[in-house]
C-alpha cells in the first residue's frame, strides 16, 4: 500500500463518509435485501476501523493525544468484540411443556456461524408456573418452576421469571409472554401399542379465540383437529386474574367429519384404536440468549468512556472556552483534538 493511500484512508472525510453510511444502514439496512443486516452494518464499521488504523499510522495529533487515542482504540476493540459476539452468539426461543424436559431439537434460533452448540447438554424439566395479571390484561410477575438434575436421583428446584433467567451452560433462558395449554393424550392403536404426547395449542390468552390445532395420530397419517373447549370465561378482561389451567375445559376432537368431546380420563374410539385424554398441561415459552463476550464488551466501553472523559477534562483544563489560557500553561498536544488550533478573539 502506497504512503499516499494510507494518508487518504486516514482522512477525516473518510470518517464522516463512513459515519454517514452507518447512519443510512442503521435506518434503512433492514429492508430485507440480498445481504443480512449483520453483514451490511459491519461494512461501515469495518471501514471506520481501517480509517482509524490509517489515522493511527499517520496522524500525529491523534497519536500524541493519549485520551483521544485510548478512546478510539477502545471503540475499535468494541466493534471487533461486538462482531465476535454476533458470530458466536445465539438468540432463540423454545416452548417447554409442563412435566417434560427441555428438548434442544425444538429450539428455533438465529445462530451465529461460529456458535459452539452446547444446548444438547442443557437439561431441565418444566414444572408449573404462575402469572399474575392486573385489570386490563396487564401482565405482572411470572414465576416458573424448573427442575434441574442434581446428584443421583435428587433434583434442584429453581424459580425463574421475567428478568431472572435460568443461567445454564452460558445460555440464559428468560420466560417470555408466550405460554398456553397442551392436552396430554394417549393413542392406543388396534395392535395395543400406546403413544403418549402433548398437543401444543396456540399461546393463551393471546390466541384465546383459537385454542385448536391440527394433529396427526401417531403411527398413522390421519390428520385430526383438536380444540380446547372453554365453556366459562377464564378471566374477566377488566379484573385482575391469575394464569391457571381451566377446571372444566373439555377436549374436542374433530375427525372424519365427527365431533367428539372428552373430559380428562375419558377416551373415544378413533382410527381403529382409541384416544384417551389424560390431562391438561400447560407450556411456557422461553427466549434463549448466549452472549459470552458481554463482560468484555462492557469492560471495553467503560475503558472507552474513561479515556474520553480524561481527554475532555484535559481539553477543558488547558484553555478556557472564551480563548483565555488558564493560569497553568497549556500542555503540549492536549489543546486541539484533531486539526488546527484557533485563536479566539472577543
Amino acid at each position: 500500500m502506497s504512503h499516499s493511500l494510507v494518508h487518504r484512508l486516514a482522512s477525516l472525510r473518510v470518517t464522516l463518509a463512513c459515519i454517514g453510511v452507518a447512519v443510512a444502514v442503521a435506518l434503512f439496512g433492514d429492508g430485507g435485501g440480498a445481504w443480512p443486516f449483520g453483514v451490511i452494518i459491519a461494512l461501515p464499521f469495518g471501514a471506520l476501523c481501517l480509517n482509524l488504523l490509517a489515522a493511527m499510522a499517520t496522524n500525529v495529533t491523534l497519536r500524541s493525544n493519549a485520551g483521544l487515542l485510548g478512546f478510539h482504540v477502545a471503540l475499535a476493540t468494541l466493534t471487533l468484540l461486538t462482531a465476535a459476539d454476533r458470530l458466536t452468539g445465539l438468540a432463540g426461543h423454545i416452548e417447554v411443556t409442563e412435566g417434560l424436559g427441555f428438548d434442544p431439537s425444538l429450539v428455533e434460533a438465529d445462530i451465529g456461524p461460529f456458535h459452539p452448540w452446547k444446548l444438547d447438554s442443557v437439561r431441565f424439566v418444566q414444572g408449573g408456573f404462575e402469572i399474575n395479571y392486573d385489570p386490563g390484561m396487564k401482565r405482572r410477575e411470572t414465576v416458573s418452576t424448573l427442575y434441574l438434575p442434581g446428584d443421583g436421583r435428587a433434583s434442584h428446584r429453581v424459580e425463574v421469571g421475567d428478568d431472572s433467567p435460568l443461567v445454564i451452560g452460558g445460555y440464559r433462558f428468560y420466560t417470555s409472554f408466550n405460554k398456553g395449554f397442551a392436552p396430554l393424550v394417549t393413542f392406543t392403536d388396534g395392535a395395543g401399542r400406546a403413544y403418549s404426547g402433548t398437543i401444543h395449542l396456540p399461546s393463551y390468552p393471546l390466541n384465546y379465540f383459537k385454542q385448536g390445532n391440527d394433529w396427526t395420530i401417531p403411527g398413522t397419517s390421519k390428520p385430526i383437529k383438536v380444540w380446547l373447549h372453554l365453556p366459562d370465561e377464564v378471566y374477566e378482561e377488566e379484573e385482575a386474574w391469575h394464569f391457571r389451567k381451566p377446571e372444566n375445559a373439555r377436549l374436542v376432537v374433530i375427525a372424519e367429519g365427527a365431533r367428539q368431546e372428552m373430559r380428562p380420563g375419558e377416551s373415544i374410539p378413533l382410527a381403529g384404536g382409541h384416544l384417551r385424554y389424560e390431562e391438561l398441561r400447560s407450556w411456557m415459552g422461553y427466549t434463549i440468549a448466549y452472549n459470552p463476550l458481554v463482560p468484555w464488551m462492557l469492560a471495553t466501553v467503560v475503558v472507552a468512556i474513561l479515556f474520553l472523559a480524561w481527554h475532555v477534562a484535559g481539553k477543558f483544563r488547558a484553555r478556557s472556552w472564551d480563548g483565555r489560557a488558564r493560569a497553568r500553561p497549556s500542555r503540549r498536544g492536549e489543546d486541539a483534538a484533531v486539526g488546527r488550533k484557533r485563536a479566539y478573539v472577543r
Binding site: 477525516l12 472525510r13 470518517t15 464522516l16 459515519i19 454517514g20 452507518a22 447512519v23 442503521a26 435506518l27 433492514d30 443486516f37 438468540a91 392486573d134 396487564k138 401482565r139 405482572r140 410477575e141 411470572t142 421475567d162 428478568d163 433467567p165 440464559r172 428468560y174 409472554f177 427466549t287 434463549i288 440468549a289 452472549n291 458481554v294 464488551m297 462492557l298 466501553v301 467503560v302 472507552a304 468512556i305 474520553l308 472523559a309 475532555v312 481539553k315 477543558f316 472556552w321 472564551d322 480563548g323 486541539a336 483534538a337 484533531v338 486539526g339 488546527r340 484557533r342 479566539y344 478573539v345 472577543r346
Partner: protein
C-alpha cells in the same frame, strides 16, 4: 395549598412567563434576574407535581408520553438554569432557548394525563440510571442549541445579543457542551444496554428507539469530526448542533411512541 391537579398548569404558566421575561431582558439588554427567578419557581412547582405523581403511582416518570414529556420539560429547564448559573456570561441565550422549550410545554397541554403502570421489567436500578443519563445528555445538548441559535440569529440579523461573547467563543462553548453531552449519551446507551441484557437477555436488538439513539450518537460523532475539518465555521457548526438536536428530539419524543411503551421489548 393548591388542589392536586393545579401544580402542573401553574408551573407551565410560569415556564411561559420565564420565556417572555427572557425575551424582554434580551431586547432591553437587561440582567435576567426575573427570568432566573421565574424559572426557579416554575421548576419547584413542577417538581412538586412530578413528585406527587411519582409517590401516587409508585414509579418514576418514564412510562408513557405524558410522563416522559413532563419530566423532560423539567430536566431541560433545569439544565438550562444550571448552565446559566455555572457560566453566567451566557444568560442572554435564555432568550433563544426558552422559547424552543415552550414547544414541549404546549405539547404537554394536549397530551392526556392517565395513570400508568410500570411493566414488570422496569423494576431495576438501571432504568433510573439510564433515564437520568439521558436527561443530562439532552440538557447539555439544549444548552449548545441555545448558543447555536444565538450565533444563527446574529448571522441572520434577527438579534444582536450584545451582552453575549463573540460567535467564535459561543461556538467553542457549544462544542464543549456537546462533548459533555457525548460522554453522557455514551453512558446512557451503556446503561440502557445493561438494563436490556438484564431484563430481556439482549443488550442490543435494533428496536426503533435503539436504532435512533444510536443514530443520534453517530450524528454527535460526525459533528465532533466535522469540527476538525478545515471548512468548519461557527455558522456551519451551529447548524450541525441544531441537526443533532432534531435527531435527538425525534429519538426521545418521536420513536418511543411509535409503540405504546418506550421500548417495545418492555411489554
Amino acid at each position: 395549598m393548591f388542589a392536586d391537579g393545579a401544580w402542573l398548569p401553574i408551573s407551565l404558566g410560569l415556564y411561559l412567563a420565564a420565556a417572555l421575561a427572557a425575551i424582554v431582558s434580551a431586547v432591553r439588554a437587561g440582567a435576567f434576574q426575573m427570568t432566573i427567578l421565574l424559572l426557579s419557581v416554575a421548576l419547584s412547582v413542577h417538581g412538586i407535581a412530578i413528585f406527587k405523581r411519582w409517590i401516587r403511582l409508585d414509579h418514576g416518570p418514564y412510562v408513557d408520553l405524558f410522563e416522559i414529556l413532563s419530566s423532560n420539560i423539567w430536566s431541560l429547564h433545569f439544565a438550562v438554569l444550571i448552565g446559566c448559573l455555572a457560566v453566567p456570561r451566557i444568560k442572554a441565550s435564555l432568550a433563544a432557548v426558552l422559547p424552543v422549550l415552550l414547544v414541549l410545554v404546549v405539547w404537554l397541554l394536549v397530551v392526556p394525563e392517565r395513570d400508568t403502570l410500570a411493566p414488570i421489567t422496569y423494576g431495576t436500578i438501571w432504568l433510573p440510571v439510564h433515564v437520568t443519563l439521558g436527561k443530562i445528555f439532552l440538557g447539555c445538548a439544549v444548552l449548545a442549541v441555545g448558543l447555536s441559535l444565538v450565533v444563527l440569529a446574529r448571522l441572520s440579523g434577527l438579534g444582536t445579543f450584545v451582552t453575549l461573547p463573540g460567535n467564535r467563543a459561543l461556538d467553542e462553548l457549544a462544542y464543549r457542551f456537546i462533548l459533555i453531552a457525548f460522554i453522557f449519551e455514551t453512558l446512557m446507551l451503556v446503561a440502557g444496554a445493561i438494563w436490556a441484557q438484564d431484563a430481556w437477555g439482549r443488550y442490543w436488538a435494533w428496536d426503533p428507539l435503539e436504532t435512533w439513539a444510536f443514530v443520534t450518537w453517530l450524528s454527535v460523532a460526525a459533528y465532533l469530526h466535522f469540527r476538525a475539518l478545515r471548512w468548519s465555521a461557527p455558522a456551519l457548526n451551529a447548524v450541525f448542533v441544531l441537526g443533532i438536536f432534531v435527531v435527538a428530539f425525534s429519538t426521545f419524543f418521536g420513536m418511543p411512541f411509535v409503540s405504546t411503551a418506550p421500548h417495545k421489548g418492555a411489554i
